[in-house]
């Protein structure tokens, strides 16, 4: 049995991708064993019973604790549980897993990661310079480690601006007072640098894809976000086919020689070309949508990791769409207690049987 560890199991109002990746894997590999690596006993995916459920789950230290802390915990888990592959699903984990690749390899754990250089080139603080060198439009973005410098940079760009953390979080600031408040909130949670970005208003387009590490694109799916939450998260999307957007994606991924999953986020002002405002180094939370219409990218990644002959992927057809639908997952406080006290739990079916093995 193949065992795949995934992270990013919370599917609240800012859903993480882990459960969607697990569901995609199960659609093509029904016997796969999913190991959930969790940061919080209240991550909702720990308690679901659908295709996105983990068969077993373990608490792990936050990425900020460093690569060695992650490795130490993985070694403890490996004493209990085989892990064949890891698919990190959160931006903040990539630095650690890239550093740990040789150690993971020694333990027989496979993963497909971009190079450190590629990860840094697409980082929010470097994206503007990298895009400029490629002729890929992008909103002007500047970075600072103190609020006074950031306020001065915001004046260069002109208000209103977005104040963004290096991994997550963005606040709209229309005045210096709002910028200072946003800086304080972001630096407290995510550390520096804090970014200030030109505000561009338009339609948002997302592309999920897999890079082959040689400059090529294995497959991708492009959508327009039809519904957005107050945090800008897509809650509905429709497949599009735009050759101009495809060319920008190919140029950007080709220059990075990106290996593994990615999500590109573009914004389009009418009459102007698409502008790339973010690249996430992992699958997005909506990745199970293309999986359900024949373009199963998590399964394609696992085939690549296993050196299996790839099954053909279907191109997503323009007009196919998804609307996210929130549900209530039912569990018992005993399950939360077990996860909190022991840092691990096995999922069971409704009749109390283990979900795999």
């Amino acid at each position: 049995m193949t065992s795949v560890a995934i992270t990013g199991l919370h599917r609240g109002n800012n859903p993480q991708p882990g459960a969607a990746v697990a569901a995609g894997l199960r659609r093509s590999f029904p016997d796969v064993r999913i190991i959930g690596l969790s940061y919080d006993p209240l991550e909702s995916g720990l308690y679901c019973h659908d295709l996105g459920r983990p068969d077993a789950a373990y608490l792990i230290p936050f990425p900020g604790a460093g690569a060695q802390a992650t490795l130490d915990r993985l070694d403890e888990i490996l004493a209990r549980e085989a892990i064949d592959y890891i698919i990190p699903c959160l931006d903040s984990e990539l630095d650690n897993y890239i550093e740990l690749q040789p150690e993971l390899h020694k333990r027989g754990i496979g993963c497909l990661m971009p190079t450190k250089q590629a990860l840094d080139d697409r980082a929010k603080a470097n994206l503007y310079d990298f895009c400029s060198s490629l002729g890929v439009p992008t909103p002007r973005t500047l970075a600072a480690n103190d609020p006074d410098t950031l306020a001065a940079l915001a004046l260069q760009i002109g208000y209103p601006v977005y104040v963004k953390g290096r991994f997550y979080e963005a606040h709209l600031a229309t005045t210096p007072k709002e910028l200072y408040a946003a800086f304080d909130e972001i630096i407290r949670v995510w550390g520096g640098p804090v970014l200030v970005q030109e505000m561009v208003v338009g339609e948002e387009y997302d592309i999920v894809g897999l890079g082959d590490g040689q400059g090529g694109l294995i497959a991708s799916c492009s959508i327009r976000k039809m519904l957005r939450t107050s945090a800008g998260k897509g809650f509905a999307g429709v497949v599009i086919a735009d050759p101009e957007l495809d060319e920008l994606v190919a140029r950007f991924i080709g220059a990075l020689r990106w290996a593994g999953p990615f999500e590109l986020e573009f914004i389009k002002v009418p009459g102007r070309p698409h502008a790339l405002f973010e690249m996430n180094p992992r699958f997005p939370a909506w990745v199970d949508f293309p999986s359900q219409v024949g373009c199963n990218l998590p399964a394609r990644l696992l085939e690549q990791l296993q050196n299996l002959p790839p099954r053909p992927l279907t191109s997503c057809k323009p007009g196919q769409m998804f609307i996210r639908h929130s549900i209530d997952v039912v569990t018992d406080i005993a399950d939360v207690a077990q996860m909190t006290i022991t840092g691990e739990r096995a999922s069971v079916t409704a009749d109390g049987q283990p979900t795999s093995r």
Binding site: E203, R224, I240, D242, P318
Partner: protein, 97 residues
């Protein structure tokens, strides 16, 4: 000219018409509710008519006077151009996947 305008649902371009009141643009992902006159003009442009031909088509189809047809066509074109440059919207080669 009006005979060359394909009926709803038969366009080979980037625009997909669903009846006379709904159109989906496969390139931008935008969709719009239309009135039948706007739908008629959009399908005319989609099948190769130039913007300058629209007033004449409206006169022929709806028996409008020339001034009203010209005004209605111009307002429609202005609305379209605000959403997407017309050369991109009606470059049929770019719209085919």
């Amino acid at each position: 000219m009006s005979n060359q305008i394909p009926p709803a649902g038969e366009s080979a371009s980037r625009l997909r018409f669903y009846g006379d009141e709904f159109v989906f643009d496969v390139v931008s992902g935008m969709f719009f509710r239309l009135n039948p006159v706007a739908s008629y003009m959009l399908r005319a442009l989609d099948s190769g008519a130039s913007p300058s031909e629209l007033p004449h088509l409206l006169v022929e189809r709806y028996r409008l006077d020339n001034a009203t047809a010209t005004r209605d066509a111009q307002l429609f074109i202005n609305n379209l151009a605000a959403m997407e440059p017309l050369d991109r919207l009606f470059d049929t080669k770019a719209g085919r996947s």
